[in-house]
């Protein structure tokens, strides 16, 4: 049962997440598969459901199709019913507005009609990009108790990471007294998680003030801390922004690791079992003689004849005889051929790795990708959707193989060298 009153949820799901490279080539970041059977947005949606909130608007922008079909009618998160609902809110052309959202506050401003149409006492603004579990009902109660205008979900992060976040300085009562957006030189280690509770009336007033205030972190909050009641809601626990290939990979691996603090099932995270050809309608995973699996997540429909260690496999992945898969994240229905080797790689849906091929060859993990040195620099190689790696091909570290790639090369002596793209 919910303690707090009626609140409306607005989920910002428009980010491109371009640092995820090929993974966001066909889908928005919140729709990127995660943890075998989930999509990133399942964590936010499930948190909303588990907090007892029942009215949600999802603000989309970039490549929304995959996301829209994933959300469907929202039944997977119990958002169907006479007074419940989830609505997709795409950008629109207004009389004088250009159609794209210019920032978080601008996105909400362009959907004021949705806020007015769903009367509420508070509005919860979330991002659909994060892996965490949080009770928004408790946060709403806290907000009401503090009689705050704005409450910001905040957590302690290492000081070296603070430059990626909005950071706040608080007093003894958790009231935010100073604010810096993405500071170069951090004065505190308290970071904003991009989770806000607003009093609805206050939000409407503040958005109406100045149309040039496009972003909460950059514009609205720095002004509000001087004039209004802005509080920090401290969050302790597992939270990751899986915005980079490295953090995406690490967070997947955390599900396997003991005591890492993340457990989608214990967190009651719900996937959408109806989406995309009913991915859950798969037979139980089959483990054949001669295969070996350790420290891994294996989804239904997988058939394992080879070796899988330290990896996360989505439904329907086949690992054939003699194949060795280590430290990999593999999406639905990929096939790893006989005696093939995959190490330290992310394989998108329906990738085929031919017999005897090697993905992730050599020990030089630090030779960054030439085209995207900021995306791939820790040894992880990326194989795009439906790419075909021919038999005996060899792919190095920090490599990118594009979607649907299917040239018969990189076999024999011809290696896709470390840091190269195909």
């Amino acid at each position: 049962m919910r303690e707090s009153g009626d609140a409306l949820v607005l989920l910002l799901a428009g980010g491109i997440g371009s640092r995820l490279n090929l993974l966001v080539g066909h889908r928005a970041k919140p729709a990127v598969p995660f943890g075998g059977i989930y999509r990133i947005i399942d964590f936010s949606l499930s948190n909303v459901m588990n907090s007892g909130l029942t009215k949600v608007g999802v603000l989309t922008q970039y490549k929304p199709l995959s996301l829209m079909s994933h959300i469907g009618d929202g039944a997977a998160w119990d958002f169907t019913g006479r007074t419940r609902g989830i609505k997709i809110l795409p950008p629109r052309t207004g009389e004088q507005d250009s159609d794209w959202y210019k920032g978080t506050a601008d996105a909400i401003r362009q959907n004021i009609d949705f806020i007015l149409a769903n009367p509420s006492e508070q509005v919860v603004v979330l991002s659909g990009d994060h892996i965490y579990r949080m009770d928004f009902d408790a946060m709403l109660s806290y907000h009401q108790h503090k009689r705050a205008d704005i409450t910001i979900g905040m957590m302690v992060v290492p000081k070296r990471d603070i430059h990626q976040f909005g950071s706040g300085i608080i007093d003894n009562d958790n009231r935010v007294v100073d604010w810096e957006e993405k500071p170069k030189v951090p004065r505190t280690n308290l970071a904003s998680m991009g989770i806000y509770v607003f009093d609805t009336a206050y939000l409407l007033r503040t958005l109406a003030r100045d149309r040039k205030e496009a972003d909460f972190g950059m514009d609205i909050i720095p002004r509000a801390i001087n004039e209004d009641r802005v509080y920090a809601y401290p969050f302790y626990g597992y939270w990751r922004d899986v915005g980079t290939i490295q953090s995406y990979w690490e967070t997947n691996m955390d599900i396997i690791r003991e005591n890492s603090g993340i457990s989608p099932e214990d967190w009651e995270i719900r996937p959408n079992p109806e989406y995309g050809g009913r991915p859950m309608d798969r037979a139980p995973a089959r483990f054949l003689d001669g295969g070996k699996v350790a420290s891994s997540l294996i989804s239904a429909g997988c058939v394992i004849e080879g070796t899988v260690i330290n990896s996360v496999l989505s439904p329907g992945v086949r690992v054939k005889k003699g194949a060795v898969v280590t430290n990999a994240v593999i999406f639905d229905d990929a096939v790893i051929g006989e005696n093939a080797v995959v190490d330290l790689a992310i394989l998108d849906k329906r990738v085929q790795v031919g017999a005897g091929a090697v993905v992730g060859i050599g020990d030089n993990l630090t030779f960054a990708n030439k085209d995207f040195p900021k995306h791939l620099y820790t040894g992880i190689s990326l194989i795009g959707k439906e790419a075909k790696i021919f038999a005996n091909a060899r792919i190095g570290r920090n490599c990118i193989v594009n979607f649907g790639y299917s040239d018969d090369s990189f076999s024999g002596q011809d290696v896709l060298a470390d840091g190269q793209s195909a």
């Binding site: 599900i255 139980p284 995973a285 054949l288 239904a300």
Partner: protein, 418 residues
Amino acid sequence: MLRPSTLAMILAGGRVDELGVLTHYRPKSAVPFGGFARVIDFPLSNLLHSGIERIAILSQYRSYSLINHIGTGAAWDMIGRNRGISILPPFKDYDNPHWYRGSADAVFQNLDYIQYYGPSQILVLSGDHIYQMDYRKMIRYHNEHNADLTAAFVEVPAESASRFGVAEIADDFDDGGRMLSYEEKPVNPKGRWASLTVFCFRPSVLFEVLKKNQQGNSYEFGRDIIPMMMRERFNVHGYKFRGYWGYTRTIDEYWQTSMDLLGPDPKIDLEAWGIRTNLAHRNIADRQPVKIGTHGSLENSMAYNGCIIDGTVRNSILFPGVRVMAGAEVNDSILFFDNTVHQGVRLNRVVSDVNTVFNDNVRVGAPQCEKPSRVSVIGWNNSVPEGFHIGCGCRVAPRIDAAKWPKNNALPDGEELQ
């Protein structure tokens, strides 16, 4: 109204005593099978793939589990303006003061339902078997030969034929022929074609024979209806089915049939057969992928989402939510939903119903067991006390009270604990 050309009626009423503890709280057709599904999912998935969209399920024994499993029917795409699954429970009214008195009586009592839809043929199926069949082929045969009844048969070894309805079928066509004789569970079977309990009837004939059957005192398709139709010289055909046929009438058969799921080229290929189940039942859609720990291992086994494996699993089938702790061993066993196997446990040839806990160092079965019955079966919601030894071929009833477990910590081979 778009009239369905075929109406399917699934006989799902029975309890099947031989399955004992697995059917204390559910009908046979709702018994879990195949690591995530239920027995009735096999005929339902066959119907889906055969394009038959109007289905009635005749259910009598403890039907809640079945009703819950069927849900809206959406799992099998049976929800829509011209599609649907109805569950027909027994009822009493002015004419009918009794429960379903047998399979034929169950259909007879629902003649009004059948007449409402007015199908061209009526398919009567058992909900108790493991097989893949395209019913359209049989219906096509039925119509080509203008049959009043076409019944499906499978060839079985002579020594096991006496457990079934057995027919002699003329070699008229590749896929079947006129039925020459039919005997229900004969001591000395004349033929080797065993009935699958898959019948295709001409509706007018079905109405006629069911009505006539009401005058007798036994109301079964196999025992009464087919022999009557043979006597009265209706056009009765046998359709020869040549695919895999798994029966699960006893615990040992259930175990044996389940083992056909395993291996590199399994006889029962769930994926190829397109078996669908209701993913909302026991929340199986919400379970995370199978999690295998550093020391966990699975050989020649099957496990569905929600399992956590830190111990050793061989030749076994694990339903969603089974936990095998480090230092536990599960061999040749079938563990239903949410079993927990603690450290030091050894399971050999066990079928364990849902929510059962095997506490530290429990032993059930042994690697080598003597005949006749070697599989041990544990009813649901049991907590087998620490260090307890259960022999081979034992039966443990559901939810045994903590005080009722024998104090000597042992249940000898073949014993039953009530």
